[in-house]
């Protein structure tokens, strides 16, 4: 068996045995599944609020939720992918590379006729399969729950949208897993290896969008986009920070895919950015020199 497949298989085995990774995986899968139920309960209540407002004669405005698609119930899942999924992917990525350095098994592995590129790509593939499994399980159960709520299985068009959303989630999570692998390979200490990608994640998820839109950091956790400030400073800055805010690009593309009426535009540009960032991160990680892979920790 070649290096790539052995490394991928080894990575999957390690993740299956790592109890801390399970904790995050369970939280992620549980919350994605719960998101449909939260969405359903909220939608029912808001519809009730609207009907009460109309009955009291307080408005003549149309129901803002009239004609929402069944995929509306999945919109909280977008946030959980960004919040829980990204952190889970970072932890998996850090552990994948740090594990070998801590136990000094890299020296042993690289003493064999093993290419570093195949080794790293194999580890990435193993992580990719684990992430795909977590996403697959959680989105399949969500599909079942939404079908039950609607009283009929989701149609092929809606199912296709769920699949595209799942694929896009995989792209985002794999990017963060690569970030974790990178810091796991480059950091001198375990704490730094875990902390640096968390700081980068928080800067990308919270600070960058705020600079360009004046949206409150906490409002960025809401799937409904905040009203952005526009004009002068904000137009220029959002042009620069927008493409770099990968989590915002993910939220925007996912909302469009899930036909959220609060988000308009074309998802193609955002998808292109997400795939581009994934490609760049893959090249950066795979280009790690053998000497760096073999370096010990300075704890």
């Amino acid at each position: 068996m070649n290096t790539f497949l052995v490394s991928a298989g080894h990575e999957m085995l390690n993740t299956r045995r790592a109890r801390t990774a399970h904790l995050l995986l369970f939280v992620f899968i549980g919350m994605i599944i719960a998101s449909s139920i939260i969405g359903w309960v909220t939608n029912r209540t808001v519809t009730g609020v609207y009907e009460k407002v109309v009955a009291d004669g307080l408005t003549t405005a149309p129901n803002p939720f009239a004609g929402v698609t069944p995929l509306y119930y999945l919109r909280n899942a977008v946030i959980y992918v960004v919040l829980i999924g990204s952190l889970m992917a970072i932890v998996l990525g850090v552990q994948a590379t740090l594990r070998d350095r801590k136990a000094a098994t890299t020296d042993l592995v690289l003493s064999r006729p093993v290419g570093s590129v195949s080794r790293l790509l194999g580890q990435l593939a193993g992580l990719g399969v684990v992430l795909a499994a977590a996403i697959g399980i959680s989105f399949f159960v969500s599909w079942v729950i939404i079908s039950v709520i609607n009283g009929a299985p989701l149609g092929s068009a809606d199912t296709g949208r769920v699949i595209i959303f799942a694929l896009l989630s995989w792209v985002l999570l794999t990017t963060f897993a690569l970030l974790g692998m990178l810091t796991g390979l480059r950091s001198k200490q375990e704490t730094t290896a875990l902390l640096v990608p968390f700081v980068i994640w928080s800067a990308v998820a919270f600070v960058l969008p705020q600079i360009g839109t004046a949206a409150r950091p906490v409002s960025l956790l809401n799937p409904v986009p905040a009203v952005s400030s526009t004009g002068g400073y904000f137009d220029i800055v959002s042009m620069v920070t927008g493409p770099v805010s990968v989590t915002e690009q993910f939220k925007s593309a996912s909302s469009i895919i899930l036909q959220d009426t609060a988000v308009t535009g074309n998802a193609a540009f955002s998808i292109l950015i997400l795939v581009g960032v994934l490609a760049v991160m893959t090249v950066i990680v795979v280009a790690t020199p053998r000497s760096r892979m073999r370096s010990g920790l300075n704890e």
């Binding site: 939260i38 952190l87 004046a214 986009p225 400030s229 004009g231």
Partner: protein, 323 residues
């Protein structure tokens, strides 16, 4: 000198030399400053739009002058409070974890335990050291953001505003201390050091991000950009009357939110700083009358966290630790 104070001093010295700690605090300070700058820029944009609107009204011959947007300087701190809520708590966890982990990594744990230190001296010393560190950090952040309000926000502050900022600083200190000390306890209890950090981060994820996020997204008013009731042009008294019919749902939603210590910190800070409209420009006594319950739970949670850390950071737990 008691061994508790010696250990506290050692923590202070360690953190003064720790580059990672310096980077984290610098990141937090920069993010807070950015939030003040962005809020000020947003206000200026609103003011420009207002001035343009007034000019257009005047050009069209109208004599109506709509009310100008008003700057309440402390509301510029909203983003900073939210950064402390999220990033501050995360960095506090890392700091708390680090105080236990470094002893193992550096091999100083055995040396420390070979000395005649009391049962509670190590955890109490670390908690005391961290409380001093967070006091200094909060003081620096408070001074920095106050200057930012004056310089970047181009605002003026009254004596009462300074008092409000100081109350918010005390609340922030308690909140950050809670997370650091909780991380000490969790790390001490965990068999593996990395497990301690990851478990602490999962707790952070649940209480800082997930629970408030669920509470926020279940709020009927957060279902439409700009607010559901604003979109339906419903006035506040009517909104409250309508929502009274959904008391069970709102009770569950609010119950979820108040189960998170982060919401206690947020509600206290927002109330005293006047960020929440209901408390803006209101006397401190009135704010306290509504908020004392939150103040007590935040203080109680911090005391419970300290008790947990001191109780579980035992010689036995520390010695069984593996990296």
């Amino acid at each position: 000198m008691s061994s508790t104070w010696v250990i506290a001093q050692k923590e202070l010295l360690d953190l003064r030399r720790d580059r990672l700690f310096a980077v984290l605090i610098a990141f937090l300070a920069v993010a807070t400053l950015i939030s003040v700058g962005v809020a000020a820029a947003s206000f200026r944009t609103q003011l420009d739009a207002y001035n343009l609107y007034v000019q257009q009204l005047a050009a069209s011959g109208s004599t109506t002058v709509p009310a100008a947007p008003q700057l309440f300087p402390l509301q510029l701190l909203r983003g900073g409070v939210e950064y402390l809520e999220i990033l501050g708590a995360l960095f506090a966890i890392v700091l708390g974890y680090g105080t236990v982990a470094k002893e193992k990594y550096r091999g100083t744990l055995q040396l420390l335990l070979s000395r005649p230190v009391g049962r509670f001296a190590i955890p109490a010393g670390k908690v005391l050291g961290l409380s001093v560190v967070w006091f200094v950090v909060v003081a620096l952040l408070t001074v920095t953001t106050t200057v930012a309000i004056l310089v970047i926000g181009n605002a003026t502050l009254q004596g009462i505003d300074i008092a409000r900022i100081l109350i918010a600083a005390v609340v922030a200190w308690l909140y950050l201390l809670f997370w650091s000390v909780l991380a000490i306890g969790i790390t001490a209890l965990s068999h593996r050091l990395s497990t301690g950090l990851i478990v602490a981060i999962v707790v952070w994820l649940v209480f800082v991000l997930i629970i408030p996020q669920i509470g926020d997204t279940m709020d009927p008013d957060n279902q439409v950009p700009g607010g559901l009731f604003a979109a339906l042009q419903i006035q506040k008294p009517d909104e409250l009357k309508v929502l009274a019919n959904f008391a069970v749902f709102d009770g569950i939603r609010n119950g979820l939110e108040v189960s998170s210590i982060t919401k206690h910190f947020e509600r206290l800070s927002f109330a005293f700083l006047g960020i929440k409209d209901k408390y803006n420009q209101q006397p401190l006594g009135l704010v306290w009358a509504d908020m004392w319950g939150y103040a007590i739970t935040l203080a109680a949670a911090t005391v419970a966290s300290v008790t947990f850390a001191v109780g579980f950071t035992t010689r036995r737990n520390l010695q069984r630790k593996i990296s």
